[in-house]
């Protein structure tokens, strides 16, 4: 028996973090160790799954042995695999970071919740069943809400409350859509639905409901109102998880449904999404520029970056989808580094007022470097993952002839430059430290830098990653 090719890595990816959560819950004193072990084992499993899929092609796994439509299927193609990989990479980094960030009293709550969130993310990316996706969405939502509330401050609790209500509302819209689709076609399997779906009132209603519900969770302008508070008041590693992965998970579902289930003719809707995306870019960018707190700035930057993802809808080309998916991966990595950096600054100085950053920035050169590198990727400057994404997106825009999106894309890049350099500029001014700071653990600084360097390195991995994306042709068949 070949260990790599015969093991059910797909299931391991769901079970390992779940067992990790239970273990952290049962033996909370050892939660940090158990969590780190789990994190590494999940990463190894993802690597193994990648090798397996590269060898054997896309993978459909019938849980319970029944297979669709009766049972639930899991499905691995380029899209889900890359989501799993980026989750594992971010997950390991966050785990290392968190192992130094939390005090024991918080850590014993944090670790089981985080492991649950990881299990939810992995199961979400793997699911090929729209009802099962609902369950994973709820699993993810509840874990995320609990994590936001972890810091216990009044603002964090209020943000968590709002987030929970929005999350539940979004799920119910989604579930109503699932109900309609099931009763129209007698299946909840994405592949089977894709074969049967045709334009009908029920399908249109389902599209309306599911898209609305998911947009709420993705926080696309103007439904973004809950995000800045939730993402900025959470503990730093949680902010990173939310911005990097959780909003992306909802987007992933939307992408899957859009590509496979929803008929291709909703031109008006795709333009509307593109328009909302463009508004998100401009609005989020301007808001970010005017923030006085670093974490809020980064949170609005997420609002903005989400907007970019929707520029691919009106373009409706393979290269456009690839571009935004590359952007999604780059943003996940860069945003993780950025929130970690903000966490270090907060940890050190006790606050994250941008105007006072000059007192902190000079003492944390590694953190500031990481922030700068992540910023380069967000701006889309070379060499970075963000640049590759911007290049591809620009190519898709020009090929489609819809040149007006290019203006938005460029304006967005400049806005990003403005708010990133607003922060960086403080690194060069001289100021005294007014009070005794709290030393940032070395581990937290270095893992931040490592992730930031990775965000740059993504600029050199495009041939490999784009090839992985083609696995199973999730965006349709390439012509070449």
């Amino acid at each position: 028996m070949n260990l790599i090719f015969d093991t059910h890595w797909v299931m391991m990816l769901i079970l390992l973090p779940l067992f990790g959560a239970v273990a952290c819950f049962l033996w909370s004193r050892q939660a940090v160790t158990l969590g780190l072990i789990t994190a590494v084992s999940v990463l190894l499993s993802v690597i193994a799954l990648t090798l397996q899929v590269l060898e054997q092609g896309t993978l459909r796994y019938a849980v319970g042995g029944w297979g669709a439509p009766l049972g639930i299927d899991l499905y691995v193609d380029g899209l889900s695999l890359l989501m799993l990989i980026v989750t594992a990479v971010v997950g390991v980094a966050i785990s290392v970071y968190s192992s130094a960030y939390f005090k024991p009293g918080k850590a014993k709550h944090y670790w089981p919740l985080w492991m649950f969130l990881w299990a939810a993310l992995n199961s979400l990316f793997l699911s090929a069943d729209i009802f099962n996706l609902y369950v994973t969405l709820e699993l993810m939502g509840l874990a995320a809400v609990a994590l936001v509330a972890l810091s216990g401050s009044a603002s964090a609790l209020a943000a968590a409350m709002r987030y929970l209500l929005i999350s539940l509302l979004g799920s119910l819209f989604y579930l109503m859509g699932v109900a309609l689709l099931y009763h129209a076609y007698g299946t909840v399997d994405i592949a089977l639905l894709a074969q049967q779906v045709e334009s009908s009132p029920a399908v249109w209603a389902a599209i309306g409901l599911m898209v609305t519900g998911l947009l709420l969770k993705i926080a696309l302008f103007p439904l973004h109102f809950w995000l800045p508070a939730a993402h900025s008041s959470a503990p730093a590693p949680v902010s990173a998880l939310l911005s990097a992965l959780v909003v992306k998970a909802s987007f992933y579902i939307l992408l899957r449904l859009w590509l496979d289930v929803f008929p291709e003719a909703n031109l008006a809707l795709s333009y509307l999404l593109g328009l909302l995306g463009a508004s998100a870019i401009i609005w989020g960018g301007i808001q970010a520029l005017y923030q006085t707190r670093l974490k809020l700035l980064i949170a609005y930057s997420t609002v903005m970056q989400i907007g970019y993802l929707f520029l691919a809808f009106p373009l409706a080309s393979i290269i456009g989808w690839k571009a935004v998916f590359y952007l999604l991966l780059s943003h996940a990595i860069a945003k993780t580094a950025m929130f970690m950096a903000a966490g270090n600054i907060l940890f050190y100085g006790g606050h994250d007022q941008i105007a006072d950053l000059d007192r902190v920035a000079q003492r944390l050169p590694i953190t500031l470097t990481a922030f700068g590198l992540a910023g380069i990727s967000l701006m889309g400057l070379p060499p970075s993952g963000g640049f590759i994404a911007k290049w591809l997106l620009l190519e898709a825009i020009i090929l489609s002839g819809q040149w007006w999106w290019a203006i938005i894309l460029i304006a967005g890049g400049l806005l990003t430059g403005a708010y990133v350099f607003k922060v960086i500029g403080f690194a060069f001014t001289q100021a005294e430290v007014p009070h005794e700071p709290r030393m940032v653990p070395k581990r937290m600084e270095w893992v931040t830098l490592t992730v930031a360097v990775l965000a740059i390195m993504l600029g050199f991995m495009a041939p490999q990653l784009l090839a992985l994306m083609d696995l199973g042709a999730p965006f349709g068949e390439t012509m070449s």
């Binding site: 470097t369 591809l392 890049g413 400049l414 001014t429 050199f460 495009a462």
Partner: protein
């Protein structure tokens, strides 16, 4: 080991790796840092010398790494690249020596020299870039690497200058990006090719090509400080003197000018550009820049600002030269890339010496300074006469070819531009020289410090003296093999259909 593949990469990496090590070096390890700086600069010169010899002997050096499907990161040593690489490598060594002397005892030296190294890496990358996307990559890296140098001092003025610089360069970079991607969607290739790769394109695309040309040239014009995109340059004068020297003579403005050369000759092709009708407007813009900036320079009392406007004016000679369609003008433009660099760096070194030693920042404070600092002012004088275009200095050679080229191409009006600019150059340089040598010294200087046994420390004195001598030699020995002029003739011979 495959030299043809590794050599271009090594030339880029030599300063990159040094920079990265310097970043993590503790502030107090001065000796190690100096060793690394000088060592890397020397290594680069040796590598460049090997490559220069190789290219001359007909070897092909090329590094290719995959970047995107269908697009590669290409570093290639063609003749034009070698001209710029040799200039950067040589002047980097001198500037490094100068900067070490200049920044003695000041804080944040690790940070400074780290970005300094990155800056040179980016410049060399720009020079060696074998296609437009590689060029773009290093061009943007250059923006990022120079920003921290400009705001190095951390004052409010420095931050403001940094902001202005970013607004200009990031916007310019964005235009360049759009133009590049658009071009790629039309042609499917971005590879620099002698005489361009666009002339075979269907004529229905010609309107698009004109827009692309404007996008690319505007994007590059920001760094090349073409009027009206030059606003950032005088502001950036708040940076330390070695940075100004680097910015003006080697890195930033030259990257812009070099990019314009590349786009006109190796993307569009000069003859195709002319047939699109885009060269004449560019020549006019360059001429306006030359005259306008010279006039502005006249009214600057701040020495470095006067030199900055002079740069704006002089760099446009390069653009003017390449925009006049004709081999002789091309020679004048391209060779000025080197000549202006050597002369301008001399002037900035000298200005830095005056500021560092005597606290002189203004032209009006320079009265009689020639007796206090004879070596510095001698070098300054050579640089200034070079700029004016007095024979037998390097600047004369450039102007001579530009003028001949304009006549050859039938663009007689250019002669008036050259003449006017020469007069203006004289008008803003000669009073300085007169005051320095013949003016009466008041006896006290704004902020005099005694550095070293000579008029100032050797590290500050030797670089300008060397570059001044170079400026003389480049003029005197212009026809010797391997001289920039001869090398430029070689470049030009490839760009025109025989």
């Amino acid at each position: 080991m495959n030299w043809a593949f590794w050599l271009p990469l090594l030339i880029v990496l030599s300063s990159l790796l040094a920079a990265l090590v310097i970043f993590i070096l503790p502030e107090e390890k001065t000796k190690t840092r100096i060793g690394l700086n000088i060592g890397a600069a020397l290594l680069k010169i040796v590598l460049v010398a090997i490559m220069l010899w190789g290219v001359h002997s007909g070897y092909q050096f090329e590094t290719r790494l995959p970047l995107l499907p269908g697009l590669e990161l290409v570093l290639r040593a063609d003749t034009l690249a070698m001209l710029f690489v040799a200039l950067s490598a040589g002047l980097w060594l001198l500037t490094t020596v100068y900067a070490i002397g200049y920044l003695e005892d000041s804080p944040h030296r690790s940070r400074f020299f780290g970005f300094f190294g990155l800056c040179v890496t980016a410049t060399v990358g720009v020079a060696l870039a074998g296609n437009l996307i590689t060029f773009l990559l290093f061009y943007e890296l250059l923006t990022l690497a120079t920003y921290p140098l400009i705001i190095h001092r951390g004052t409010e003025a420095a931050r403001k200058a940094g902001r202005t610089y970013l607004i200009y360069t990031l916007a310019g970079g964005a235009l360049l990006l759009i133009g590049t991607v658009w071009l790629y969607t039309l042609t499917g290739t971005l590879e620099f090719t002698a005489r361009g790769f666009l002339s075979t394109l269907d004529s229905m695309h010609h309107p698009a090509l004109i827009i692309i040309f404007v996008l690319l040239i505007t994007g590059l014009g920001v760094k090349a400080a073409l009027f009206p995109l030059h606003g950032w340059l005088p502001q950036a004068m708040v940076a330390p003197a070695p940075v100004s020297a680097l910015l003006h003579a080697v890195a930033v403005v030259k990257a812009g000018a070099f990019g314009i050369i590349r786009v006109i000759y190796d993307v569009f092709g000069i003859e195709f550009s002319a047939s699109l009708g885009v060269t004449l407007p560019l020549a006019i813009v360059a001429s306006v820049t030359i005259i306008y900036a010279s006039v502005r320079a006249l009214f600057q009392d701040d020495l470095k600002r006067r030199l900055a406007f002079s740069t704006v004016s002089q760099v446009s000679y390069i653009t003017l030269g390449v925009a006049i369609v004709g081999p002789l003008a091309t020679i004048g433009g391209i060779v000025h890339l080197v000549h202006q660099g050597v002369m301008k760096i001399t002037l900035f070194f000298c200005a830095g010496n005056l500021a560092e030693t005597l606290g002189i920042h203004k032209v009006s404070e320079m009265s009689g300074v020639g007796r206090r600092m004879p070596w510095t002012m001698a070098a300054f004088t050579i640089g200034a006469f070079g700029m004016i275009g007095a024979p037998p200095l390097a600047g004369f050679i450039s102007k001579w070819y530009l003028g001949l080229g304009a006549l050859q191409a039938g663009q007689d009006w250019v002669i008036f531009v050259l003449a006017g600019s020469t007069l203006l150059n004289a008008a803003y340089f000669l009073p300085i020289l007169y005051a320095a040598w013949f003016g009466k010294s008041t006896g006290s200087w704004p902020n005099e410090r005694n550095i070293g046994r000579y008029e100032t420390s050797l590290a500050l004195l030797i670089p300008p003296v060397i570059t001044a001598i170079l400026a003389v030699l480049l003029g005197l020995l212009a026809s010797v093999p391997f001289s920039p002029l001869e090398w430029t003739r070689l470049i030009t011979s490839l760009e025109y259909t025989p």
